[in-house]
Symmetry: C2
Subunit: 243 residues, 2 copies
DNA sequence: CGTAGGTTTGACTGATCTCAAGTTTGGTGG
DNA sequence: CCACCAAACTTGAGATCAGTCAAACCTACG
């Protein structure tokens, strides 16, 4: 196996290539970024709300999520992340974290100093464009989540979350969207959709019985993607993958 | 009264000044931006979902909102905007609109060509920083809205929306946060909080009776800001106004 | 093989929605 | 200036989706 940081920076470069027109000098500049490697166990807290952050975190393997906590103690997960995602890119400009960041599974991470990223943006405008674009897509996903949590019924919300996960996973080269293993518990799904774990369970059971998905614990197979897409009201445009 | 575009660009410059350290050359570059003025009546559609957009829209006076529509016909408002906000700054990088944009009141608008803004960002990095920062704060607000709609009960959601409106209004120099006139109907509030207009009405009546607010139609006075803040679970940090 | 975390199921509760009707208000044309 | 109209607001009664509480069941891991 190749040194882990080569792998991940390669994945990052592939991803940024899709976001803007990068040339060889851009690729070299990314590969030359300073970083600090670390590993984290499942459930590890990487950033806590209100922390002052001076590094951005590149997820090299595993899964993570961002969340906020309400005064009543309820947790809202605001996004899920997978390998090659830069978590908390907003700390390029906003130093105080407005949300927490936690791993879902064991993970490998590369921490990149914010000043190095800022310098990179100054020197390589195409990279700045790609990163800015990435944060704008992030925002588009949040808008879709506001819609999801605000206007769809329980079953559709869960279906939508699953569709998004399946599609992003595929886009990151992590395998087929038709069948995959969920890294999150039903409680995570509940906190991401504004439901309770009990109700998430009931809805998953129902989707199973209706023949839309086939499920064994965390293992999910989407049996009828078109019905799933309709149930979820899933329109891929908000992910801005093309154009 | 001064020519309207001088007013509004002045307000924009003041706002961007708060987001990054701009110098006189930056100010002049902003003032020199090409633009097209227009006016719109209340309820006018400025951008529709899926439109290909080649101008960014600066709101010079009045109020507007962004929204998405679910397959079941439900509308989710994802943000409210007021004078000096740049609406749809994401179109700097994402050409296809993933949501609609509509006025709440009569409004004056300045449309700035995207290529002019992109050139400005290349030439004046401090302005690029300010605009990027603005879009990141936008995203932070969306995260807070996901939390609001996903985890708070009806009364808190509405209170939170009102707190945010009051604070942003004041920050834009539009008057006191203790008393103001709402530009939106109870139906707009409902669509922003994931509730029905009927229930919004009941909750507003309740807040009235509890002495938290005093209300006459659209006119709102917050009688007890501290109780309001607690009810809303409103923590201003997510607006990233300082630092 | 014991245990903790995760999943599943059941019975009951309740916050919010739906439907429906009545009231108020602001704007418009006569 | 007034009368009218449509939109917005208010109120009530009943329905429902999702929450709560509680217990049982798995199963991976130490």
């Amino acid at each position: 196996m190749a040194p882990p940081h080569e792998d991940a920076f390669a994945a990052l470069i592939r991803k940024l290539d899709r976001l803007a027109a990068l040339d060889d000098a851009d690729h070299r500049a990314i590969a030359a970024l300073p970083f600090r490697l670390s590993t984290a166990r499942a459930g590890a807290h990487l950033v806590r709300e209100r922390d002052v952050v001076s590094e951005c975190c590149l997820l090299m393997s595993g899964y993570a999520f961002r969340y906020k906590v309400a005064a009543n103690g309820n947790r809202q997960i605001v996004s899920f992340h997978l390998a090659s995602d830069i978590l908390d890119l907003q700390h390029l400009m906003l130093t105080r974290a407005d949300h927490g960041l936690q791993t879902l599974t064991d993970a490998r991470l590369a921490w990149i100093p914010v000043p190095a990223l800022q310098a990179l943006c100054r020197e390589r405008p195409a990279i700045a464009d790609a990163l800015w674009r990435d944060t704008l897509i992030d925002a588009s996903i949040f808008r879709e989540w506001v819609l999801n949590v605000g206007q769809r019924d329980a079953k559709s919300r869960i279906a939508h979350m699953l569709c998004e996960f399946a599609v992003r996973r595929e886009a990151a080269g992590l395998g087929s969207p038709e069948r995959f293993e969920l890294p999150m518990t039903q409680e995570h799904i509940a906190d991401a959709t504004g439901l309770t774990a009990v109700h998430v369970n009931r809805m998953l059971m129902a989707m199973n019985q209706e023949g839309i998905i086939e499920r064994n614990k965390r293992d999910v197979r989407i049996r009828d993607w078109e019905r799933m897409r309709r149930l979820a009201d899933f329109d891929i445009d908000y992910l801005h993958m093309a154009a």
